[in-house]
Amino acid sequence: MRTVVFWVLALAAVGFGVAVFRVDSMARATFALLASFLCVGGTMVLLDLHYLGVLVVLMMIMEMMVMAVFMIMYMMNPAGLMPMSMLHNRRGALIISGAVLVALVAGVWTVDWPERAGRPPGDPTRALGEAVMGAQMPVMIVVGVAILATMVSAVVLATDRGRYDGGDR
């Protein structure tokens, strides 16, 4: 039963992933990407990573909504009317990504992966929590500083004066 669900979600995720670059409306591309992420979140719940799976769902919905705003704002040429990607680099891209795919899949199926070390804990979320607050604390600190740096630099880069009158007050 879990295998069937997995394969359904996997095919859906890849299908939506391909749809992102096939579809001709910006909003649809964004929601195709969102659907792909939701499927990935689903697969993670299958791996008993309930917390991380639902976290991906939560984060991705909010991110994709903000992305939809920017996509529509900046996609000056309506993708549906003026085809965007030129032909030559499409074929080149296809070849490169195809090669990468073949290489990766070959690697996946040939390497004999080591046996599992240890049993998954009863509650992976608690294990994650204790790790993040304990041994992996430096990781959280670095991530926190990275988020702060991104916030500051994004604001500096993006705002000039602010389109609302209140911007300069």
Binding site: F31, V54, L58, I61, M64, G166
Partner: protein, 213 residues
């Protein structure tokens, strides 16, 4: 299999789906006013989401669990509403903002002749309004295990108390509907980020100290 051990995160994830649906309604009807209404709900979402998340985290910190049942049981001594008033207030505000109800009804505001729902008639409008009321009811029902001690209470059985408390929270939210002017996000956003977030953080600090102490 179902993620009940992380009920709070699941509840939060399902709320955010409303962002997608209201934006799609506004954008899909291909008319200017609903489009503005849809984008207003995104601004409202960004304004209420962080204080709301911190309020939920405060509750989870107090009960040391993300599961609704655990949280309700953890309140048998003292209800969270008593020693987490700021979190409860912020939660109520975010319930209003989540269901764009009453003072937070700017996305479907009267000044845009109905905003996102302007072009909806008949069954579409019925489905949209039903979804909105359902969101309001579910969110106020969630306030019971989070802050009001779940089914705890004298005399009546657990489920009766849960219903009564949900009804009270819902009555409060419905009463507020016309009582306040609509709050616009260009002014509420700064207040939300500058006042509400620090307030919930201080509340979380207090709860953290109490839980550790």
């Amino acid at each position: 299999m179902l993620p009940w051990s992380i009920g709070v995160v699941w509840f939060n994830a399902m709320e955010v789906v409303a962002w997608v649906s209201v934006w799609m309604v506004g954008w899909g009807t291909n008319s200017a006013f609903p489009l503005v209404g849809g984008y207003r709900f995104l601004a409202q979402g960004l304004a209420y989401e962080l204080p709301h998340m911190f309020a939920l985290i405060t509750v989870a910190l107090g009960a040391e669990s993300l599961d609704f049942g655990e949280i309700a049981r953890a309140q048998d001594g003292l209800w969270f509403v008593v020693w987490m008033p700021v979190a409860f207030l912020v939660y109520l505000l975010s319930v209003l903002a989540m269901a764009f109800w009453g003072p937070f009804g700017h996305p479907v505001g009267h000044d845009l002749a109905g905003g996102a729902v302007l072009e909806l008639a008949g069954p579409d409008r019925l489905v949209f309004e039903a979804g909105r009321y359902a969101l309001l009811v579910v969110a106020s029902a969630a306030a019971v295990p989070l802050f009001l001690g779940g089914g705890a209470g004298p005399l009546l059985p657990g489920w009766a108390w849960a219903l009564v408390k949900t009804y009270l929270v819902l009555a409060l939210l419905v009463w507020v509907r016309h009582r306040l002017p609509v709050i616009r996000m260009d002014r509420f956003m700064t207040a939300a980020w500058v006042v509400l977030i620090p307030a919930t953080l201080v509340q979380m600090l207090v709860v953290g100290i109490v839980v550790l102490g």
